[in-house]
């Protein structure tokens, strides 16, 4: 009894393992990364039809927004913008998405929307590639895919509505800092993580401007520190920066977590009003620090305008006003006229600057 039980128990697990092996191996033969993959990146969006810039917006479009995750104030602000654009055009609007920001949860929602035959999906993607096959299926069922805020591989969508151009963000950041310290002095950067792509792109622009723009000849970069987008770490790094650089003129924090933590530290310290703080933050987070004089001016794109532009862009391609080719133009309601750039990118514009005069006009 004992012996037979043991043998069977032992035999069972390797059998299950073996079966799994067979199943995985059974696929086919000899594929490595180097062997190449020709069908990949074809990127043909099949929009052979010509654009008609004089066409009217179609009146009965169903437009759905799929954010990275729901219950996120940033995307709710975008949704408000998209909703007002769709209302303006007389279409049907839906806001739906997963509660966790993962690519695989978004796939189910894309599948659902393509089943419901939505005309346009406005998507902020959690992964540049993981959504591609479901987006392809959606597009083959005549759904237009417009990404906003966070793009997918350009071959997998029709258009991307970019919040800002990264050069413009970098330039706006150094310009605000220079204005606030009178064009001379030292500045330090409080970034998010050391490998954050967007942060590093902006920092590179700032470094480039400091090195090559004669307007900033008297400004030097004291250093870059990383708060890892953690409130407490950003708070401590701010403290460290001020202690290590007694002559510091300004801190630039191009991250909403960092700038809020730095503002909290500054507002309670002797450096309040002495050391300038600017960067990228949300008006709701920064309002009290603007009102108490810790912060003069900071910037961010307006997510409501971004959502509105995304909705107009989606409606424009679904109505045949544009096809997604470079150089085409369309009018996005009150936002004005926009031109489709290379790779089907439509850019919202320079970041919006927030200061004591306009901060109460925004709620996000």
């Amino acid at each position: 009894m004992f012996a037979s039980r043991t043998r069977r128990t032992r035999r069972f697990a390797p059998a299950a393992l073996g079966l799994s092996l067979v199943l995985t191996v059974a696929a086919c033969g000899g594929t490595t990364q180097d062997s190449g993959d020709d069908d990949d990146g074809a990127g043909d969006d099949g929009t052979a039809a010509a654009a008609d810039p004089d066409a009217e917006y179609a009146a009965d479009l169903s437009i759905a927004m799929l954010p990275k995750s729901v219950n996120n104030p940033y995307f709710e602000a975008s949704s408000d913008g998209a909703q007002s654009a769709v209302d303006e055009l007389g279409g049907e609007y839906e806001y739906t998405g997963p509660s966790d920001a993962s690519a695989s949860s978004q796939v189910s929602y894309i599948n659902t929307l393509s089943q419901q035959a939505a005309d346009v999906i406005l998507l902020s993607a959690n992964d540049p590639n993981a959504l591609c096959s479901s987006l392809e299926q959606a597009r083959s069922a005549e759904t237009y895919v417009v990404t906003f805020d966070s793009d997918v591989d350009p071959g997998c969508r029709d258009l991307f509505v970019s919040q800002v151009d990264s050069d413009e963000v970098g330039r706006a950041l150094i310009e605000m800092a220079a204005e606030q310290i009178g064009g001379a002095g030292s500045v330090a950067i409080l970034s998010a993580t050391a490998n954050a792509t967007n942060q590093n792109a902006w920092i590179a622009v700032i470094e480039d401007e400091l090195a090559n723009n004669p307007d900033y000849a008297d400004i030097e970069l004291a250093g870059v520190v990383y708060g890892d987008d953690e409130d407490e770490k950003s708070f401590q790094e701010t403290q460290g920066l001020l202690q290590a650089n007694p002559d510091l003129g300004a801190i630039i924090s191009p991250t909403t977590v960092g700038i809020a933590a730095a503002a909290r530290y500054l507002s309670g310290s002797e450096f309040k009003g002495q050391v300038a703080l600017t960067g990228l933050g949300t008006p709701n987070q920064m309002r009290e620090y603007v009102k108490d004089g810790t912060v003069t001016e900071f910037a961010l794109w307006d997510p409501t305008a971004l959502g509105e532009l995304a909705a107009y862009t989606g409606a424009a391609i679904a109505s045949g006003i544009i096809t997604g080719a470079e150089g085409e133009t369309f009018t996005a309601g009150e936002l004005g006229e926009y031109t489709v750039g290379a790779d089907g990118v439509v850019t919202l514009g320079p970041p919006t600057r927030f200061n004591a005069e306009n901060i109460d006009d925004f709620d996000f």
Binding site: R8, A13, T24, D40, P98, Q116
Partner: protein
């Protein structure tokens, strides 16, 4: 007389008894099968687009990882243990797959290696639980964090996405020109294998015995520790397989793949009528639990029900699935007791 009043778990361990078979049809897992069929029928009639073959394909793809992970999880929970590290194992094998692919290994080598990696990760759980005698809840919460951490060490925030299209399109594709997904065949084979092992082999009886009463099982000569060890190895190997499936399905090897999925898996297993205390459960019930959970989510999404409401429905179902079998069991015990009393009173 004595069989009538015997505790339920002992009769469960002897599935050949015909009396049990009839009780299983009205039992929780039987009820879940019926509810699942009912939900699918109602959804097909009332929710637009639900009954299409295309949607069925999406549904099957969505439930594949949950179902695969639920199979070994069922056996582990029946033995009275748990494995909460499965989703992290999926993430770690997915990361490993990305790293191996970046280093130029052929996919045909990577895929079986991923299953082996999963098995090794499962063996670590197995050793900690059986050789060191640590509680599996604590061990696998630990490896849940550890394996996910290692996944991030391997791949960081980046994703590896340049897997060959043939492989991912096979994964999400259909058999020939039909609308039957390719993955359905392996799913049926593997589920059938697990069902056969649990319900028709001495290993399965050992699993029930180990969960119902580990001391008695040990006295009966069942190597409880070794059995559990191999169950953990199997669970890890299946998680490795799911890691491969997940990576190919989404063409994206990421460290955060499948995060949080362990809770869905445990929820589906409990919904399928497996007792969290061990010793009780059936695989058909678990399959129905997985299908029910996935169909409900799919149908509610198609009906444009908000994500919040969807989470509430899933959470409520889980509570019901833990509560209801207990209510049913105690109600049945009370009935048996009353019958016994009625039967004995007149004669004495």
């Amino acid at each position: 007389m004595s069989t009538d009043t015997a505790p339920d778990r002992i009769t469960q361990a002897q599935p050949s008894s015909s009396r049990l078979r009839s009780s299983r049809i009205v039992g929780w897992d039987g009820a879940i099968v019926l509810v699942t069929v009912l939900v699918i029928a109602v959804a097909a009639l009332t929710v637009e687009h639900f009954g299409t073959s295309r949607n069925a394909g999406f549904l099957i793809l969505d439930l594949t990882p949950v179902l695969l992970l639920a199979l070994p999880m069922t056996l582990i929970i029946v033995t009275g243990e748990i494995d909460l590290s499965v989703a992290s194992t999926v993430g770690l094998t997915s990361s490993a797959m990305g790293v191996m692919w970046n280093n130029g290994l052929p996919l045909e080598t990577i895929m079986p290696l991923c299953v082996v990696i999963g098995a090794v990760l499962g063996a670590v759980n197995g050793i900690l639980v059986t050789a060191l005698g640590l509680p599996s809840l604590a061990v696998t919460i630990g490896t849940l964090a550890l394996y996910r951490g290692l996944a991030f060490v391997l791949l960081g925030d980046t994703a590896v996405a340049d897997f060959p299209r043939d492989f991912s399109s096979w994964t999400i594709g259909n058999l020939g020109t039909s609308s039957v997904p390719n993955v359905l065949i392996p799913l049926i084979v593997i589920s059938g294998l697990f069902a056969a092992v649990l319900h028709a082999t001495p290993v399965g009886r050992a699993v029930f015995a180990a969960g119902a009463n580990p001391i008695a099982a040990a006295f009966a000569g069942i190597p409880v520790g070794r059995l559990k060890f191999w169950l953990y190895v199997t669970s890890g190997a299946v998680a490795g397989l799911v890691g491969v499936f997940w990576t190919l399905r989404y063409s994206s090897a990421r460290a955060d793949n499948a995060s949080g999925l362990e809770l869905t898996v445990v929820a589906a297993v409990l919904l399928g009528g497996v007792s969290i205390f061990g010793g009780k459960g059936t695989l058909p019930g678990v399959v129905a639990g997985v299908v029910l959970l996935s169909s409900l989510q799919n149908a509610l999404r198609l009906a444009s029900v908000s994500t919040e409401a969807l989470t509430v429905v899933t959470g409520s179902l889980l509570i019901v699935s833990v509560l209801a079998p207990n209510v049913v069991t105690s109600a049945r015990a009370a009935l048996v007791r009353r019958r016994a009393r009625l039967r004995t009173t007149p004669t004495s």
